[in-house]
Every structure is written in C-alpha cells, then in structure tokens.
C-alpha cells in the first residue's frame, strides 16, 4: 500500500482518466478481474475468498452461533430477531501501514459501514446496532440489509442465531470496500445454518435442540436482497470504479453506493477529503445504482454456478476440492 505519489504521476493519472485510458489500460467503468471461491474455510458456516487481479485479497467468514436475543428495554423490540455482527480487520501482513494500531481507523470505518449497510435495522444511524436493536414502531419489513432476522430467532425473547460476519483483508490492492461486500455476499450465500427443534415444556418454558444433520440445513433467508457496494472515486471532474492504490491516492472524494438487486439504494457514504457538486453526486448515485445491479447479477450467476457444480460433484460421490490458497 503506497502512501506517496509524485505530482507528475498524479497529473498523468488525472489526464489519463480524463481521456478514458487509465494507467493499466482500463476504461473508467471497468472492474479488474474478480477471482472468487466459496467454502474455503471448513470451520465456518460459510466462507468466501475474493481477489481482485492486482492485489486485493479478502477472506470473509460467516459463523452462526447461538446467543441470547437483545431486547430494547424501552420498546421491547428485538425479542423475535436474530443478529448480524460485522467486523472487518486488515491483517498487518497486507501492508506495513496496517501494523500495530495503523489499521484501527480503517478497520473501524469499514466495520461501521458494513454494520450500517447490512444490519436489518433501519435506524442504525441512530443507535449502535450491535448493542441496541431497532426501536421502530413502524412496520418495516425487510430493512436495507435484506436478511430476514426474524428467521434467525429460535425462541422469541430468549435464544437466537447470531451471524458473525468477519472479513479479513489479506492483501491490499485498492478498492477494499467493494471486495469486502462481494465476499460477504458470497459467504452468506455459502452459509448453512443447522435446523433447530423447539420443544414446549409448558409454563411458557421452551427448550430447543440443534439438529446435527449435515444434509438438512437452512440457507440464510433474504440473502438475495443483501446490498452490494460500488465505490466511485472522483478524480478531476470524472469518476472511476475499482481504483488501484495509486488512483486512490489521487482521489479527491469517493462515494460508496450500496445497492440491492432491485435497484434500491441501501446506503450512501462519502469518503476522503474532497467535495462533490450536488448534480454530480446525483449522477454518481445513478451510475452506481445501474452498475451495482449488473454486478449483483453477474456475481450471483458465479456463486450459483459454483454451488451447482459442488452439488453435482456431491451427488456423484466425488470429493469437492477447493483450491483455496494453492491457486493462482
């Protein structure tokens, strides 16, 4: 992760973007090749590794755990809901700048962003979602995060599934946010939660049992409606996607647009120390929205193809071999 750039490099990148030829030959709206594999870590409920050709390497794991539900003492909300707890961490091996406390700010920024965009809660802006659940009195069905949290509840008011979504950044090559969200979507699609059986013991007491049948598991409901993020980097008067580290150093302002598959905006956040004119802002939002929908379509096709290939192999009794870290 470079931190220095010379004025002439900056100028070269800026003018290149102006005439739509980026330093590595891409055009403004071009992504790098994305290399994706799901089910790479056996200890998780679901996992995925996403790499952008040229560096960025993100490993996302989802672990389903059982824990007590969080109830808002004031409104009694949250008794029938599971939770999603997000965490992003940049490994110090990815860059010297992540060493020690160096990654703290970035980790926190990404974690908060992920929590805000993925959490079911519509008032995440107003309450730290992991500690206080939504206090909405209004009937909002599927929140911005898409995932149906009610389905994660086992015994209302007592026990629920908690999905721990942990993203680990192994290598830095620009455009972290998009890669993290692509990986998260793939990992959630890969996630299987064991079924549970609830027994009524009478007197309002319940007990439950986790069925350890590996074949009979549930997918995360609402996973199709999860948003994905598109980061638009404003350089000069133009904006580009999937910036390389040097391009990120030239970025005046970046805009993260979270979109779901039906084109609804699930979040927006500006980053970096520059301004954007309102008209350009709206144009960028629109652009991110269209691009995001295409991206989701292609990503889903890829995830589906891989899942199907695995199923066929399993049916034929062949071992499902993941290349994992032996791959190029």
């Amino acid at each position: 992760m470079p931190s220095l750039i010379s004025p002439s490099e900056r100028d070269y990148i800026l003018k290149g973007i102006e005439c739509n030829i980026r330093a590595d030959g891409r055009q403004r709206p071009d992504y790098r090749e994305v290399i994706l594999e799901t089910g790479v870590i056996s200890q998780t409920s679901g996992s995925a590794r996403v790499r952008l050709a040229g560096g960025t390497d993100v490993l996302v794991s989802v672990k389903a755990d059982i824990g007590p539900v969080l109830v808002d003492p004031e409104t009694g909300e949250g008794a029938d809901k599971g939770q999603i707890i997000c965490n992003v961490e940049c490994a110090p091996s990815a860059s010297q700048q992540f060493e020690g406390r160096g990654a703290d700010e970035l980790n926190n920024e990404l974690t908060q962003m992920m929590t805000r965009f993925l959490s079911h809660n519509t008032t995440t802006l107003s309450t730290p979602s992991s500690t206080t659940p939504s206090s909405t009195g209004a009937p909002n069905n599927n929140g911005a995060g898409g995932i149906n949290l009610s389905k994660l509840c086992i015994i209302p008011g007592e026990q629920c599934w908690i999905l721990y979504v942990d993203a680990l950044v192994l290598d830095y090559g620009g455009n972290l946010v998009d890669a993290v969200f692509m990986g998260t979507r793939a990992a959630i699609f890969d996630t299987r939660i064991p079924k549970t059986e609830v027994q009524d013991l009478g007197d309002g007491n319940f007990d439950f049992e986790v069925l350890d049948d590996a074949e009979d598991t549930e997918v995360v409901e609402g996973r199709e409606d999860m948003p994905i993020c598109i980061t638009l980097n404003k350089i000069g008067a133009r904006h580009i996607v999937d910036a390389s580290p040097l391009e990120e150093l030239c970025t005046e302002a970046k805009l993260v647009v979270a979109v779901n598959r039906s084109g609804e905006l699930c979040g927006l956040q500006k980053g970096q120390d520059g301004g954007i004119e309102p008209s350009l802002l709206l144009e960028m939002i629109q652009f991110g929205k269209t691009l995001g929908q295409t991206l989701i379509k292609q990503l889903d096709a890829k995830i589906k193809a891989e899942a199907e290939a695995d199923t066929i192999k399993r049916q034929n009794g062949q071992p499902v071999v993941k290349l994992g870290f032996f791959a190029q």
Partner: protein, 324 residues
C-alpha cells in the same frame, strides 16, 4: 462497464521457456564450460545440466575445494545454503541467489527510487533495498549552471528539487557503513521522472545490461531500474546538450501526451506485469516481443489472467526463435 468473475485456477508454467527463466541464465553455462572441476562438481552433487534449487540448511557440496559465496555458510567443512534459491558457481566460488529478495546493489547500478524523506542536506530514497538509499544534496546537478557549488540557499529549498513522493532515476555511487547506498544524479540522463507510470517487479527479474534506458519502437521509453522499479513513459527526445537545467526539477508533464501514447504506455506496462507475473527476465527485447504479441488483444482485456499468460508465452517463444 466490464466485470468478470472467475474461479481460482492452478498456476501453469510456460513450456519451453526455461532458457529465459531467471534461474538458468547466470552461471550455469560457466559451470559447463569449466572443465577443471568437472569431477568435483559431479561428485559433490552440483549438477551442471539441470538447475539446482536449494533450501536453507541443504548441503550443496562437501568438497573442501570450493569457497563459500553469498547465501552459503560452512559447517563441518561442507558448503551449506542459507537461502532458498538457485546455486551459482563461478570457478571455485559457490553462491546461492535467492529468488525473492530485497535489492542488493552494486556501484554503478541504475536504480529507480521514490523520495521518502527530506533530511539535512540529503534525501532518503526508497529503492526496495534493506535500507533507504541516501541522495546527498552534493550529489545532484544543481539548476542554473554547470557543476556549480552548492550554497546555503540550496539547502533551504531542497523540496524545490525533490519532494516526498517524487520518483527519481539515479546511479549507485557508493556504500555507507550500514549498508545503505549513496546515490547520485550527476548526469543529465538521471533525475526526476515524468510523463508516465510506475511499475514494481521483483528485483531479481531485471538483469544488469549495457543500458537501462530504452526507447521502444512503439514510442515508449522504459527505464529498467535494477532494483525492480520500472518507469514507463512517453518518449521524450533526448538532446543532452540543450537541456534546460531549470526544467530538470519541474513537476509538469509534457502537454502533448496523446491518447495513443497513453495506450502504448498502458500496453507496455501491462506486458511488463504479465512477464513479471510469470517470473520471466525483463529486458527491452522481450518487452518488444510481448508488445507485439499483445497487439491482437484489446487493451482493456490485458488485465485478464489468461491473456497475460498468453502474451508471456508468445513473447518467450519469440525470443527462443530469435536465438535459434
């Protein structure tokens, strides 16, 4: 827009390209020619015909006739490797060159570096070596005159010459006691870099050549720093007599970089990345061949793994054919 998703694939080596792989070029030919120690070499397990890769702690030879070089140590009168790399033998000297390593320089090397710090009368330069190299204020050509003495005013405006982040091409002038290099830019071909883009490859892939400044036929200038830092830029006609010394430290790119130039630069840059990805030696010949090979692909497709692989393969075959 352009986005594609792929599954990871196992790495495939380029067939028939061994001659250009970094492991074989140095030394091994010498070994074959060197008749004196034929027996010793065979007896000690240093095989001349195949490349010899060793890992730390591996015994290279137990013949006491050999001397230990870099990357080896002696234990119980045996020469043992201390790095993972390829065995080199020059006469009786055995050394092991590690495959991936920081840059180890020699005096006279041309390097590309990035200024990281401005200090008292000197700049610190990142050259991918174990220490930041030092560029002394007295080792640069000061603007406004041939070989003028440095003055106090120069010390106060060092940032007007080189600032943090600036890229320079320089020559290794000397070593300091702590292993840091002292650089100089006292020639008009050295100095600040403009009009292009920066690429970093493993230092082992750039060999020492007669020249490290190349103007390719496609109108692109390439500076191959021996430290693995490469500068690819638009061609600037070099007229060493008439260079305005004031412009040496300018940060301004030239105005007339055409989109065509940019495409060529991006293409060359991608070729270098493709070659580095396959761990192939990088020199002007192979870059030219790779450039030729890349012309059949669209520029924006060149980031794809299989196309990068195809370009590297084609370029190595072309070099093979040229050599016969």
């Amino acid at each position: 827009m352009n986005v594609s998703f792929h599954s990871p694939a196992p790495r495939t080596a380029i067939s028939g390209s061994k001659a250009h792989r970094q492991s074989k070029q140095h030394g091994l030919e010498d070994m074959e020619l060197d008749g004196d120690h034929e027996d010793g070499a065979n007896g000690s397990g240093v095989k001349a015909s195949t490349l010899h890769v060793v890992t730390p702690g591996e015994v290279i030879t137990n013949d006491t006739a050999f001397m230990r070089g870099h990357g080896t140590y002696i234990e119980n009168e045996k020469v043992v490797s201390s790095v993972a790399g390829v065995v080199d033998r020059v006469n009786k000297l055995i050394s092991v060159r590690p495959l991936h390593t920081r840059y180890t320089g020699e005096i006279g090397d041309v390097v590309v570096g990035r200024i990281t710090e401005v200090a008292q009368k000197r700049w610190k330069v990142d050259v991918s070596a174990r220490q930041d190299a030092i560029l002394m204020l007295s080792s640069i050509n000061l603007p406004g005159g041939v070989q003028r003495r440095k003055q106090e005013s120069d010390e106060l405006q060092m940032r007007s010459f080189f600032m943090e982040g600036d890229l320079v091409v320089a020559e290794v002038q000397a070593f300091f006691g702590d292993g840091a290099y002292s650089l100089h830019t006292r020639s008009l071909k050295y100095g600040k870099l403009r009009n292009g883009t920066f690429i970093s490859v493993p230092p082992a892939l750039v060999q020492r050549c007669k020249s490290h400044f190349h103007s390719l036929a496609c109108g692109v200038d390439v500076i191959l720093g021996l430290n693995g830092y490469i500068w690819v830029s638009a061609h600037v006609p070099q007229n060493l007599d008439e260079i305005d010394t004031e412009l040496v430290y300018s940060n301004k790119n030239k105005e007339d970089i055409t989109p065509r130039d940019r495409e060529s630069i991006a293409r060359v840059g991608n070729c270098i990345r493709a070659l580095a990805d396959e761990f192939i030696f990088i020199n002007d010949t192979i870059i030219s061949f790779a450039y030729e090979a890349s012309l059949q692909y669209k520029l924006k497709d060149m980031n794809k793994k299989e196309i990068m692989h195809a370009i590297a393969t084609e370029a190595t075959t072309a070099v093979d054919n040229m050599k016969g």
